[in-house]
Amino acid sequence: MSGQSSGCGFLMSVVVHGDSALNEQENELNQQLRRLYPAVNELETPLPRSWSPKDKFSYIGLSQNNLRVHYKGHGKTPKDAASVRATHPIPAACWDKHSYGYHGDDGHSFCSSGTGQPYGPTFTTGDVIGCCVNLINNTCFYTKNGHSLVCDLTNHLSIFVCPQPNLYPTVGLQTPGEVVDANFGQHPFVFDIEDYMREWRTKIQAQIDRFPIGDREGEWQSMIQKMVASYLVHHSYCATAEAFAKSTDQAVHEELASIKNRQKIQKLVLSGRMGEAIETTQQLYPSLLESNPNLLFMLKVRQFIEMVNGTDSEVRCLGGRSPKSQDSYTGSPRPFSSPRHKASGSQAYLTGFDGGCCNGVMSSKAHPSPHSHKPCPPGPALLAPAAELSSLNGSHSLQQPNASTDVDMEVDHFTNGVTESSSNGFFNGTSKHGAQTEDCDTDMEVESAQSKRQLCGGSQAAIERMIHFGRELQSMSEHLRRECGKNSVNKKMLKDAFSLLAYSDPWTSPVGYQLDSIQREPVCSTLNSAILETHNLPKQPPLAQAVGQAAQCLSIMAHSGSGSCAFAAVDDYLH
């Protein structure tokens, strides 16, 4: 596997005969290395931290935590030199062909060949020599006592390095008694590498900022408007989408009724009323679930979970409460919800961005035009969400959605070529926002549905219904396996859902996260995408796709050794 790119990373500096290296806190080193190699995930591609006791000549001795190298004796002839290399390469693989070096005795530089050419000053006892590989312009330069020996790219002395090979920091020694101490980032470097990195960060960012957008006037703007409109439509923000389309003079490519239907289904899913959601879907899109048994299975599993939760309409009825009055969902799907989850394992994730959008949509929808929702036939009662939200929010802080669970789950989803490191960073920045909004919704449900949090809302009849439903689900799963073959995803899904019953308090159990209303979002998003597909509409909004594509690009750049990705994070551009 090829390594990740480090942008520009300082390999090391060596002190010939320098002071002994002190043992620094491991943590500090970790932090320092993270700063020096911004796009590197050490779990995947460990960084060099010391000399390798394995990859060395026998005349080489190591000490000081494998940071000090000394030459123990003569080789076959006094001219024989010996070398040692670091434990890990600089992430970005061909040790034999591509090697680069700087010799102290003559100041010559060696590039993939045994003959050197005059490069810089000679160095000797007491000098600190550094080596920096810049994976943005694929060059390498050395430093002496903190002074850089960079040269113009047009200069014949420029050292161009192959972007692919693993470069191992290596030192060679020839004189008996010679000692070299290495610093892989344990100590501050004499050369101001941070300043060098600052310059490159600025360069990359300027390049992004100056990137030419569209030749013709207005083209760029209309494209942005289309993206926003399609995003609103995708998530069924009817009123906003309508208003936006009107003010930007665009056509909406889906009928309003269709949008509203999707909106209705989404609301049901997000409020945990899965039975009704399934029913409505079958009613409005008769062939959809029939032709898509895995989707139906997923919905049913979710329904089972909602039953355990006491939120599904079927168990609610049995609890003796009218679904209408019990329902307290905000009336519009939580706007951040669907996009937080990609439809079907591809790269549609859009979070930070979403957070911003969601706020605007919420208020415009809830306050000035609640009536626009009235025509929705059997829709849940439309409360004034903002007012309730705030008061409820103030009095309840019981259930805090676990942000880390959230992230874990997200990460699990990214099996499709998106590296953990980049997706992690991406989500961390935004989960907070999601969590805040989440609070309100969760609280509201807690208030109405399960202030005591009992299994299936506490009704014995409901529990029986749930058990019965579970059996149906089990047989559906077996049926599905016979028809379509094994499906590990389905199997795990069902196993996890059933595990809920193994605990006296499912909510605090290790599988309790499933009960969290935030888990409704991927289900909602998947269902929404499936409906859109039947209408030949994209299953993801172009906006989410663009953001996902940008993140994926960066990840591919990192894997292919293109260094500039280290200084460009999608997050920096999502505010």
Binding site: G146, D192, E199, R201
Partner: protein, 647 residues
């Protein structure tokens, strides 16, 4: 502002008349109107306020900025504006509100305002007090200061008015423009000014040392203009002695920053400024020169400075060609300056420079460029490299650099002449293979004329070159030198007020008076004058070096066959020699002893008589004492002399 003022100021008819006249179609009448207005407003705050209310300021500004206005009219307008600015705070505010400052900052009128601040002591405090008003006034006023501050006196005036304390806080202003102008102001204030620089190092801005603020401004993510100007500030502070040359902020920050400014990635203007500033920074310090010479392959990087306009620019883009042409001279002179500075002390660096692609050819063509600036810089570079014995023997000769150098000496401004003649001195050193062809080119006349210059530097170089030329030269050359210079001029130079000139003239005499036949020949024709001059110098108030040189001349004369007698028959001189043998300075004792040793040398005719005479005069006793001297050289010399008596 106008409304506010009209409420309590009565506009009189006379005031209106002044303003109306500014609109007269006849320029002559307008001029007279402005002059009358000037006389009317002096010392009259009320009148000033009236005129401002009536809208005189925009009209005056218009006239000031009009290309068709005569310079007389423009000057008068500026004076009136300056006068209006001298009124109340409100008046100044009105002027600033009219955007007077940006207008004044453009073009020639600036000059008028420039002189005012330093002539009129009240303007500066006014401007200082305006600094706190707004970011705009901060930006403009600091800009005025940087533009106006042209001399050390200006620096002192601003310094005494608290410029440093007032401007330092602006370095951390939220506005980039303000920070930048404040920074520029400091670079102008600190330039070659020890007082300012010494104060600056101790200034704190928000509990941070100013030098650290400058270091932060040099960070690589800062705009280039800011990095460069901050580097200038630190350079000037360092050259003024306020920061040591081995301070890390110089060695690890300023120097690398300036080297980066020379990179191909920078704009041509930035590369020029970067190279010039770097040359200035390291001029006196060999360690900085060594570091710079290896940093980022600077020596090779500078070679690119000679490639403008490039062949590509000529073909692709006429605008670029124009731009390149405009900067080509500046780039070349900056590169020459930096090479000169880099090579001024270290032999290895000089070697590296001369080995740079086409370096010597570039210098040679630089010497004959039309731009004086380039010629001067090229000759400075050549001068720096001419300090290398190896280069004089090799590249200098191979490229016949003496030819363009001689041409340059024919007709050049004094500053070029000083450098060129100084370089010539090195080319005339005896081991230099260029010495012969230079002699044949008829350089003597030219050098002699230099000795008559008003500039001491040129006189020194002229006589120095002649001195080098006379060293171990044949009789013909020496004769030519004496003839061309003329004894009169030679003796005039021996009484030159500049001790360097005197030293080199004595050096020339000493070189002329070497090898016996030459000594006798010169002394037979000029003996009398030379002895006279020697006497005068030995009696006069001169440095040890001058006296030593003079005694060495006497020693040379004492080595002649016939010339000896000029000393032996001159009791006065003999007494002087005796005096110096007993002097407290060993060098003088040694030179005087050498002289006596030559006089009593055994193998020569008449040595017995001379020995006898000198014994009578008490020289033997002195020599005897000197054999006990603590200085081994002096002791040996005295013993050798004593042996002449024993043989």
């Amino acid at each position: 502002a106008y409304c506010l003022l009209t409420s309590h100021i009565e506009v009189t008819a006379t005031s209106r008349h002044y303003v109306d006249r500014l609109f007269d179609p006849d320029p002559q009448k307008v001029l007279q109107g402005v002059i009358d207005m000037k006389n009317a407003v002096i010392g009259n705050n009320k009148q000033k306020a009236n005129l401002i209310v009536l809208g005189a300021v925009p009209r005056l500004l218009y006239l000031l900025q009009q290309g068709s206005s005569s310079s007389e009219l423009r000057a008068e307008c500026a004076v009136v504006l300056g006068s209006l600015a001298m009124g109340t705070e409100n008046n100044i505010k009105s002027l600033v509100d009219c955007h007077i400052i940006p207008a004044l900052l453009q073009g020639r009128c600036m000059l008028t305002v420039c002189v005012t601040p330093c002539q009129d002591p009240t303007v500066i405090p006014h401007l200082m007090s305006l600094l706190s008003r707004s970011q705009r006034t901060q930006e403009y006023i600091t800009q005025i200061f940087s533009h106006c501050c042209k001399t050390p006196e200006h620096q002192t005036v601003l310094f005494n008015h608290g410029a440093i304390q007032n401007i330092a806080p602006l370095l951390i202003s939220p506005s980039y423009k303000v920070r930048m102008q404040a920074l520029k102001c400091f670079s102008v204030l600190a330039y070659e000014n020890t007082q300012v620089s010494m104060t600056l190092v101790n200034v704190l801005v928000d509990e941070e040392l100013l030098s650290q603020v400058f270091v932060r401004m040099m960070q690589r993510d800062q705009p280039i203009d800011m990095q460069l100007t901050a580097a200038k500030c630190l350079t000037y502070m360092c050259r003024a002695g306020a920061i040591r040359t081995d301070d890390s902020c110089i060695v690890l920050k300023t120097l690398p920053c300036l080297v980066r400014m020379c990179s191909k990635e920078r704009l041509l203007e930035e590369r020029v400024e970067g190279a010039e500033t770097l040359a200035y920074l390291m001029e006196p310090d060999v360690e900085l020169q060594r570091i710079a010479s290896v940093t980022d392959h600077l020596v090779a990087m500078l070679a690119d400075y000679f490639k403008y306009p490039s062949s590509v620019s000529a073909i692709t883009d006429i605008k670029r060609l124009d731009h390149d042409l405009k900067h080509a001279h500046e780039l070349r002179q900056a590169a020459f300056k930096l090479y000169a500075s880099l090579g001024s002390n270290d032999e290895d660096i000089r070697k590296k420079i001369t080995e740079t692609e086409n370096m010597m050819d570039r210098i040679v063509s630089g010497l004959s460029e039309s731009s004086v600036k380039v010629r001067l810089a090229a000759v400075r570079c050549l001068h720096s490299l001419s300090r290398s014995v190896q280069q004089l023997r090799t590249s200098f000769h191979d490229h016949a650099v003496w030819k363009p150098l001689m041409k340059l000496l024919q007709n050049a401004p004094d500053e070029v002449l000083v450098m060129a003649s100084s370089t010539l001195c090195n080319l005339l050193l005896e081991f230099s293979p260029s010495k012969e062809p230079i002699l044949e080119s008829g350089v003597i006349e030219l050098l002699c004329s230099l000795t008559q210059s008003d500039s001491p530097a040129l006189r020194v170089n002229g006589i120095w070159a002649l001195m080098n030329m006379a060293f171990q030269a044949d009789q013909k050359v020496k004769g030519e030198i004496v003839r061309a210079l003329g004894t009169e001029q030679l003796f005039r130079l021996l009484s030159d007020p500049d001790s360097n000139v005197l030293m080199k003239t004595l050096g020339l005499l000493r070189n002329l008076l070497s090898t016996r036949p030459h000594i006798d020949q010169v002394m037979s024709s000029h003996g009398k004058q030379i002895m006279q001059a020697v006497t005068l110098i030995l009696e006069g108030e001169h440095s040890i070096e001058v006296k030593e040189q003079t005694l060495c001349i006497l020693a040379n004369i004492a080595d002649g066959n016939t010339a000896k007698e000029l000393i032996m028959t001159n009791d006065d001189i003999l007494q002087k020699i005796k005096y110096y043998m007993a002097h407290s300075n060993v060098k003088l004792q040694l030179a005087a002893t050498f002289c006596i040793s030559n006089l009593i040398w055994n193998e020569e005719d008449g040595s017995q008589e001379r020995q006898d005479k000198l014994r009578e005069l008490g020289f033997v006793d002195i020599l005897h004492k000197l054999t006990q001297a603590s200085d081994p050289n002096l002791c040996d010399r005295a013993k050798t002399a004593m042996q002449q008596y024993l043989a």
